[in-house]
Amino acid sequence: MSDRRRQRRIGGRLPLVLLLPALLGLAFLLVPLIGLLAQAPWSTLPSRLFSEEVGQALRLSLVCASSATVICLLLGVPLAWLLARAEVPGRGLIRALVTVPLVLPPVVGGVALLLVLGRRGLIGQHLDTWFGISLPFTTAGVIVAEAFVAMPFLVISVEGALRAADPRYEEAAATLGAGRWLTFRRVTLPSIAPGIVAGAVLCWARALGEFGATITFAGNLPGRTTTMPLAVYLALETDPDVAVVLSVVLLAVSVVVLACLRERWISGLR
């Protein structure tokens, strides 16, 4: 689309009163990153980048964040639906409780997970004796910790989308003989797809950056539980420059993934 055509856009000029805060907001989010990039030791970057540990941590981060997002989608979307559509007693309280892992400092979240799913925890001890499953200090533990921290983002986003969606389409589906599950799958889900995408992005990004709960619950074992944020933490202990480099790598990967993924998803949906 040429510049000229853009001038002829339908909505008229962008109002300054919206444009100004929008740009300010953008600057606020981006300038610190620029600061970070400016400080990164670019000359030594490549050598540090292609070490085995970085690759391992990056791979682990992506795998865990993606797995956690999948878990969150599987559990969180139904939960959001329950909160938005079903008439559950005490829904307001449940909704508030769902946001709790957001407020909990992640380290405390990790402690809470240990208390419940640790080898001596409420549930963990049974998992251990009955099934021989022990989550802490495993990659599965990382996924659990990330899912725990990230799920509220998904639930709240999706619930918001559900509330904004027109319930009469679900009625139309019901009159066509579709039960709640079919209606949910074929009518509700597609119509709230943008909300789900937004929620999944939040969820994935949050999981990718998760640190406190992970190190507390899953420990920091290279190749098994050391994700990028943990590697950054360790690097801060020894060499802050490396930490900056690692952060930049993490950012770059996430930006690339999100830019590709979301633009495609969104355009596919519209």
Binding site: T175, A178, R180, S191
Partner: protein, 359 residues
């Protein structure tokens, strides 16, 4: 199996209290002005709104009976066409139609083929792969129609199914729909405010005003003997309520008129607008009813002109005229009379043209 619905629904300050039965193969039209509660009744029967009291059942299969029974919409064998379509925007036309078939367990390929056939029947073969947003209003309406028909429901509920169609398509789709409905051995409930749709498609009309049934019967019966002003306007008749004494009826709304058959007590008097003749001067012929009137409105219809008349306030010598009188005359007559609003003229009505029936 008869659909029996005794609907009592309260929505805010609006109260619906309606009794309805629909026999198999029968098409019942629910006619009424805006806000009469037609959509509300339809939603209750569809299972989208529980009734406050009463009962809905298909023979002895109870669908809704507070406080115990409520069968949800998806477990009622119904098809619904909504007033504003509610097509699924993320599905193509053919997928929309296939939806109900798939919900009833049909295999995907089969469902799509059948859906495509349905679209064919309403002339939308080319639009089968279009999304609803790319359909025009009428195209969308037709997709909604076949979407509901495709599942072969026991009860078909139509909320103004032809409202958005243009005249030529409407003729075609109405005829189509008529054919489907006559072949269809389920029950049909048609909500509309187009009398033509109701008259053409329905076996029986139920007229609702303000949440209550005001008249019920076959199209001809209702067309001949309207019981409320709304119904009269619907069928294009002048209708008055009054008290008869011999051949004179004193109208409740003011004025009086002479009828052919002597009668007594409260009656309805009805006559078609075409039975009213207009004269620039007071005529001297046989018509028993002659009133000085003023033109208050003129509407060009396709072949005739409908003139709305009110009593001439300056005239006193004559018997009082009805408060409102409609007359249908030809375009030529309009030209002859140089008809303009505010003009005074004389209206005559032959007593033999009136229909009188007790209230």
């Amino acid at each position: 199996m008869t659909l029996y619905a005794d609907l009592k629904v309260t929505r805010g300050s609006f109260e619906l209290d309606l009794e309805l039965t629909v026999e198999p193969g029968e098409v019942v039209a629910l006619l009424g002005p805006n806000g009469a509660g037609k959509t509300t009744a339809l939603r209750a029967i569809a299972g989208l709104l529980p009734v406050t009291a009463g009962q809905i059942r298909l023979d002895d299969e109870v669908w809704d009976e507070p406080p115990r029974v409520f069968r949800s919409a998806d477990r009622r064998p119904i098809g619904v066409v909504f007033q504003d379509y509610l097509l699924f925007n993320h599905l193509s036309a053919v997928e929309n139609v296939a939806f109900g078939l798939r919900a009833r367990g049909m295999e995907k390929r089969v469902a799509r083929a059948e859906a495509a056939q349905w679209l064919d029947t309403v002339g939308l073969t080319d639009q089968a792969r279009s999304r609803p947003r790319a359909l025009s209003g009428g195209q969308a309406q037709r997709v909604a129609l076949v979407r509901a028909l495709a599942t072969q429901p026991s009860l078909l509920l139509l909320d103004e199914p032809l409202a958005a169609l243009d005249a030529s398509t409407k003729l075609h789709v109405r005829a189509e729909l008529g054919q489907h409905l006559s072949r269809y051995d389920g029950r049909t409930l048609l909500v509309t405010h187009d009398p033509l749709d109701a008259m053409v498609l329905a076996d029986r009309l139920v007229i609702v005003e303000n949440g209550r049934v005001v008249q019920e019967g076959g199209p001809t019966e209702i067309a001949r003997r309207p019981r409320t002003e709304y119904v009269a306007q619907l069928v294009g008749l002048n209708l008055y309520r009054g008290v008869a004494e011999g051949t004179t009826v004193v109208l409740d709304g003011g004025g009086s008129l002479t009828i052919a058959t002597p009668s007594s007590g409260p009656v309805y008097v009805a006559f078609p607008p075409a039975a009213v003749s207009l004269y620039p001067e007071r005529p001297t012929g046989t018509p028993r009813n002659t009133w000085p009137m003023v033109v208050s409105g003129i509407e060009q219809h396709a072949h005739t002109v409908r003139v709305r008349l009110t009593p001439d306030p300056s005239a006193t010598q004559d018997r009082a005229a009805p408060a409102v009188l409609l007359a249908d005359i030809t375009t030529a007559a309009v030209a002859d009379l140089h008809l303009t609003p505010g003009q005074r003229l004389h209206a005559t009505l032959k007593a033999t043209e009136t229909q009188t029936y007790p209230t």
